[in-house]
Amino acid sequence: MQKIIVKVCVCSNCVMAGAIDIISSIESLKKIKTPLGYSIKITPTSCPKNLSHDLNSPVVWVNDDMMENATTQTVMAKILADQQA
């Protein structure tokens, strides 16, 4: 089964901008009874130090592609796109 790796930055800026809610909503996919056909591994991470966070948090990496100003919606869209690719 395809494995999708999601990393979510949990620095102060990103947590304030909803990082934990993104983690929660991706985790909640595991509870859906209809098989999704892929598995997701989600890890909280801290940001590279040189990344300015004022304007682009929260930052999420889906399979190592960085997404700025991520929302549950955009992360889900990326997961779907990667899974179909």
């Binding site: 102060s12 947590v15 901008a17 990082a19 934990i20 929660s24 909280p44 801290s46 549950t72």
Partner: protein
Amino acid sequence: MRGIYTPVTKIRRKVFTEVARFAYEGKDFSEIDKIPYKIIPGEIARYRDSVFKERAIVGERIRLAMGLNLRPIDQPAPLSEGIEASAIDETYYEPPLVNVITFACEACPETAYFVTNNCRGCLAHPCTAVCPVQAVSMVDGRSVIDKEKCIRCGRCKEACPYDAIIRYERPCAQACGVDAIESDELGRAKINHDKCVSCGMCLVNCPFAAIADKSQIFQLINAMKSGVKIIAEIAPAFVGQLGPMATPEKIKSVLKELGFDDVYEVAVGADIGAAEEAEHFLNSVPDELPFLATSCCPSWASMAKNFFPEIAHCVSTGLTPMVATARMIKKDYPDSKVVFIGPCSAKKLEAMRRSVRSDVDFVITFEELMGMMVAKGINIDEQTIDDPFTDATAAGRGYPVAGGVAEAIVNAIHVKKPDMNVPVDRADSLSDCRKMLLLAKAGKRNGYLLEGMACPGGCVGGAGTIIPTNKASAAIKKYKDQSEKKNATESSFV
């Protein structure tokens, strides 16, 4: 919407961050006018019908976050009106705490039953037969409810085989457990402050971000800058709130980095409270009091006193964990100012009470704290030094999750009387608390220990929290299980 990050959450938090930044930078008061442009940039409206309205609403939120009152809509006044008075280094508070920004309110209709498109106009149409006031009729092959006649009994909804009839409620009123949400002449939400107990559930449940409470971060940051010793007491609900990197071991160092001189865990005060209430229960129930109700949640305690004055004396008079801890701090640091950091908006009012005022100087929420951290660029990561709390027991640390208070008290009772059967009833959410007290008033809870919490799930569901309630409860359970001492009576402060 709790636990889902929406534009409502985003705007609220940005306001805290920017007000904190404004306070840290100590800018000229006139600069406050620039903040709405920073939070709502560009010229295209994103959330409402116009960018001007968006900025005006953010402007009012900024005023509330600085502790100021809303401006009257029909009078000219600059955004900074009154700011000189609020730019002090001690608590600045003018009631009310919770405010409806009227022009942000969409004037959602009050509770009503409504026929949706699911209606198939069926042959049976039981909705018409069950209505006791003939408010439901079939018009052009569909069920229609006459709003004037409807008495909102809900029988049509129950009878419909297609689930086509829904009960519609304003989210603010639905979240309010004390029926404090009324309407003004334009149908907009209006808070009846005689009933309101400041739990803050309306402000986190309004989908149009029209309700906000006042904050004290502006004055707190001023106090921190003034050089006086500032000691933080952090509520046991803190675990996990600042993100997974912010383990309980790291909180103290981060708060010190932010500028607090020392940090206490309020769980210590919770231990003291649990032991005290256990004592109170053993001494007074059932001889002096028919039952004992816990005292730590200020919204619950106020609701009990407002709605059930005849049984108000059954609410424990023990010190709340916040006050017990603050008194300890004032003993250790006599000339300091104490800041309670918690999940709760009602604690802001509790700290205003005359008997508490000298002990607790400021109350801020986790969200507001995080705004300060972001404004000051403070992060928690692997490098942050561990500086664990060592004083509280598992009992005090379990207080913020529904059921935790009663559990702590019962366990403390069992130390003295191991075989005693202590019947417990508990409720989380003010509407359920009211039902519980109705039973108690009718004499059906005699001999009981009653735990009341205003927020669904307990303090972890409070208005000032950052992470979803279930995640917070799990994090607290883990921390609680790691605690060396288990029973409140084992605390060296009890």
